[in-house]
């Protein structure tokens, strides 16, 4: 499949610092369906060319936020600025936003060329120029030979590329992707999202991706905005969110979080004191399984699987609480399956939470 995805110029290394120009700004946005609030006081700012993922469980309001930005839902409270221009009062067709839908929403009665050129026709671009631009886009998404096909004659991945080309055809100031990869099967999905990311870098269009897949969000985004129950919980780079999750929810949503009661703190990290008001979280790769004599939490090794570079270990403490542990596969196991061992964390890797919020310092 990757062979059919056209190469995107990769000569220019990804910019490490984004320009300071604002690409998108959302301020104090609230929304409700009837009396049910779905979004509360959302504020976001994207630099031009930035790729941000709106991540959250289903029903957290992320798609609604995207539709509000696109102008497909009427905005009641707050403001939206795209590329420095206030658009809160503009209807969707005048916001210059390209959008890719989960169902792709291609026009079934138009062929690929008709779909890609639709936005150009609505903009009254001269016919010849529109045709040139359409062909150029088709080439860019690797569908030059498919211009006369109809959407139902294309595979899911091809339909998705038509949808992307159609959205890019209008030279959007902002690209919105609503779960665009969820209908693809696993292998195609992974390739496609990397390809979309490089295409986005190349075109430099400010992009917002809605997804519930944390792995996808971490793989492609400059920054992630995590939503929970209509509120923005934390916004930051994937690294920040993973290493410094603001709340237990963030810690659990991105990657695996092993949770320990506060009284286990000194056993995990000798530098810490026991505190039953706290809760500790340790990532699987930061947990270490030692021989039973050493100081740590006594656990039984229940399961072990080999993942190539890593071994995935499942251990249970005396209360039958389960923890997940990743160890470099080169390192021998300290005990045999079913035997007792001792569990500690790498020094400095323990995250502490008080009332579900991260304790800094």
């Amino acid at each position: 499949m990757i062979a059919s995805l056209p190469a995107v110029a990769t000569a220019a290394p990804p910019e490490t610092t984004l320009p300071d120009r604002e690409g998108l700004s959302v301020k104090g946005l609230c929304h409700s369906y009837g009396k049910v609030p779905v979004l509360e006081a959302i504020s976001l700012r994207l630099a031009a060319g930035e790729f941000l993922s709106l991540l959250g469980p289903s029903g957290c309001g992320k798609t609604t936020l995207l539709r509000l930005i696109a102008g497909l839902e009427p905005l009641t409270t707050g403001s939206v600025r795209i590329d420095g221009q206030e658009v809160s009062q503009l209807p969707a067709e005048r916001r210059g936003v390209g959008m890719v839908f989960q169902s792709y929403a291609l026009f079934p009665n138009l062929d690929v060329r008709g779909n890609v050129g639709y936005g150009l026709r609505r903009r009254r671009i001269p016919r010849a120029q529109a045709a040139r631009e359409t062909e150029a886009l088709l080439e860019r998404v690797g569908l030059s030979d498919f211009g006369g096909r109809f959407p139902s004659e294309l595979s899911g991945g091809q339909q998705q590329r038509v949808a992307l080309a159609r959205a890019l055809a209008i030279a959007p100031r902002l690209l919105l992707l609503d779960e665009p990869f969820s209908a693809l099967d696993a292998k195609v999905r992974e390739e496609t999202r990397l390809w979309v990311r490089s295409l986005q870098r190349e075109t430099g269009v400010t992009t917002v991706l809605v997804t519930h897949d944390q792995e996808e969000a971490m793989a492609v985004s400059d920054r992630i905005a995590l939503l929970e129950g209509g509120r923005l919980v934390q916004t930051g780079t994937p690294d920040e969110l993973y290493r410094h999750p603001a709340t237990l929810f963030v810690a659990g949503f991105l990657g695996t979080a092993n949770r320990f009661p506060g009284i286990f703190l000194p056993r995990l990290d000798a530098a810490l004191e026991a505190n039953k008001d706290l809760e500790a979280v340790v990532r699987p790769e930061d947990l270490q399984l030692m021989s039973p004599e050493s100081d740590g939490i006594p656990v039984r090794l229940c399961d072990e699987s080999f993942l190539g570079p890593f071994r995935r270990l499942v251990v249970r403490d005396t209360q039958e609480r389960m923890y997940l542990c990743l160890q470099a596969s080169g390192k021998p196991l300290p005990v045999r399956l079913g035997a007792f061992a001792s569990l500690t964390a790498r020094p400095g890797s323990v995250l502490r939470f008080r009332d579900t919020h991260l304790v800094t310092a």
Partner: protein
């Protein structure tokens, strides 16, 4: 919505205008009709005096009783025969099921009075059956002028609706339940009584009510066959057209609306009940045992043959030179220049009116369905709008016709101080009023057909068009119209067919120059030119069948062009 910028309000204006048109076109006339029913001939409010007089007059009151009896008999016969027929074409292996389906529908495409005329040719004094095939067979006589004839022709006219409603219900009843009952040891009769019938409760009720209301409000068949047997619709006609007693006509027309109003209200309730239906229901497999097959083949084909025989009789009669003396065939009855009425002009009028109805009514239904289903324009008014659009389901054609007479004929609108010249008065007697009344009368089905199709479209497709630069109205042209074209054609075809054959809504509205063909059938029959009346009726039937065939071809062509793209 409160934060809408002033200029976005402009988008709501066309929709708001359309909504106002609905209010003016439906509520105002009904209001004026009700006002007339509660006033005397000079327009002075008299409360329920007209109704009181109606119920005191034994002759008038008799007409209510007669109508109820005739409609009740029709409903029982049509529902029972419709059930057998529907069972045959959905649950048994009767041969030629699709042909049976089609044959049962033919009465939908002809004016009801054509069946009245057909019955005269079959059972009248010189009828085919009465004379025993002109003396070849033992004769058999049936008092066709009077209740028996009316019931027979209403039975034929309402049979298609019953078959449709019941076969949809039967097709939806769940095979899994039937199999579960069978595996628990229930015999076929027990399954019928405990599983099938309870599940069919609503379809049976709605079929019964639909045929009851159809017979109750029909004007054509009783006009032709009624004789001295008085029924409500003919009574209204006499009061209004004959006696010029408009208040009494208005009062009786409100009585006429009672059963349809009941159907309307029960239909809404029934729809709520249907929503409980299990989406995973599996259609039942047809019975294949020989006895069932023989019984249902006999009864279904028997009924279809009866309908076909009636159709063919009237077609045959329209070609016979002088029934029953000279049975040679000729075309002279299709030359309408020498008979009562206005020659062939009414046919041209009907054709024009049906075309306008199909075009404007179809467009109106489509745009209304789009606004109601796909936009949030005039959002707070949408429920009211929906209700207004479906209201004609509760209104007999005669009520619609009378309401329009009162509305368009009034030189001034309003009362007392708030009175102004009626801006629509100049339309009275013109084509516009005929088309408007017909569109209004048949609007609900057209709207439902468009609405159902539009509801099935992925809303994201329109959203995509929006983000690509298409204003909302443009998405209607670019997305909803091409994808909803079959539904629009269906709605337009339905409007055309009914505009060709409707009598009841137009009987008060036409002018001498604009005389619809279905009405000229009444005139010719009245004047004794029965053969010409039959010919005109057959011409209408043939036109309708041709138009439906054309529509079918267009839809096939569309489907072929889009193969499996949609």
């Amino acid at each position: 919505m409160s934060a809408l910028a002033p200029r976005r309000w402009i988008l709501h204006l066309p929709a708001l205008g359309l909504f106002l048109l609905f209010c003016v076109g439906t509520l105002l006339p009904l209001w004026m009709l009700a006002g007339r029913a509660l006033a005397d001939g000079d327009g002075v409010f008299v409360g329920l005096a007209n109704f009181a007089r109606y119920f005191r007059d034994p002759g008038l009151f008799q007409s209510l009783w007669n109508t109820v009896m005739v409609s009740g008999a029709t409903a029982i016969l049509a529902t029972m025969s419709g059930f057998v027929y529907a069972w045959g074409i959905t649950r048994t292996a009767v041969p030629g099921r699709s042909a049976l389906r089609l044959l049962a529908m033919t009465p939908l495409f002809a004016p009801t009075l054509l069946y009245g005329i057909a019955l005269i040719y079959l059972f009248g004094n010189q009828g085919l059956v009465t004379t025993g095939g002109f003396g070849h067979l033992p004769s058999f006589s049936l008092p066709v002028y009077g209740p028996a004839g009316i019931v027979l022709s209403e039975w034929i006219a309402t049979f298609p609706a019953c078959v449709l409603l019941l076969s949809v219900g039967l097709a939806l009843s769940d095979r899994r339940l039937l199999e579960a009952a069978r595996s628990l040891g229930a015999g076929p009769w027990r399954i019928f009584a405990t599983v099938t019938l309870p599940a069919m409760r609503w379809p049976i009720v709605s079929a019964f009510l639909a045929s009851f209301a159809g017979a109750f409000t029909d004007f054509g068949a009783p006009k032709v066959l009624g004789g001295n047997f008085r029924v409500l619709s003919v009574e209204i006609y006499k009061q209004v057209a004959g006696l010029q007693n408009l208040p009494m006509g208005a009062a009786i027309s409100l009585l006429l609306a009672l059963p349809t109003l009941l159907v309307f209200l029960l239909g809404r309730k029934g729809r709520d009940a249907r929503e409980v239906l299990d989406g995973g229901a599996v259609a039942a497999a047809p019975h294949r045992d020989v006895l069932t097959k023989v019984i249902f083949t006999g009864s279904c084909w028997g009924m279809a043959a009866a309908i076909l025989a009636v159709d063919l009789t009237v077609v045959y009669a329209s070609f016979v030179r002088t029934w029953p003396y000279d049975l040679s065939l000729c075309l002279r009855h299709y030359d309408f220049s020498e008979v009562a009425g206005f020659g062939a002009a009414p046919f041209a009028t009907s054709l024009r009116m049906a075309l306008f109805t199909a075009i404007f009514g179809g467009a109106l239904a489509f745009v209304t369905a789009w606004i109601l289903e796909r936009t949030r324009l005039v959002h707070p008014l949408q429920r009211l709008w929906q209700f207004l659009s479906l209201l004609p389901l509760a209104l007999p054609g005669m009520v619609i016709g009378l309401a329009y007479v009162f509305f368009f004929n009034a030189p001034r609108l309003g009362t007392g101080i708030v009175s102004f010249p009626n801006p629509f008065h100049f339309l009275y007697g013109g084509m516009t009023v005929l088309v408007a009344a017909t569109v209004w009368h048949f609007f609900p089905v057209a709207l439902l057909s468009c609405g159902t199709a539009l509801r099935r479209l992925d809303p994201a497709t329109e959203d995509a068009a929006r983000t690509l630069g298409a204003p909302a109205w443009r998405t209607m042209l670019d997305v909803a119209l091409p994808l909803g074209l079959p539904a629009l054609l269906e709605a337009s075809g339905y409007l055309f067919v009914n505009a060709m054959i409707t009598v009841s809504a137009l009987v008060f509205l036409f002018s001498p120059e604009l005389r619809p063909a279905a009405l000229s059938v009444v005139d010719m029959e009245d004047a004794g030119d029965t053969a010409a009346a039959a010919a005109m009726g057959c011409l209408l039937l043939a036109t309708n069948l041709a138009v439906l065939l054309l529509r079918e071809l267009a839809v096939r062509l569309w489907a072929h062009r889009h193969r499996d793209r949609i």
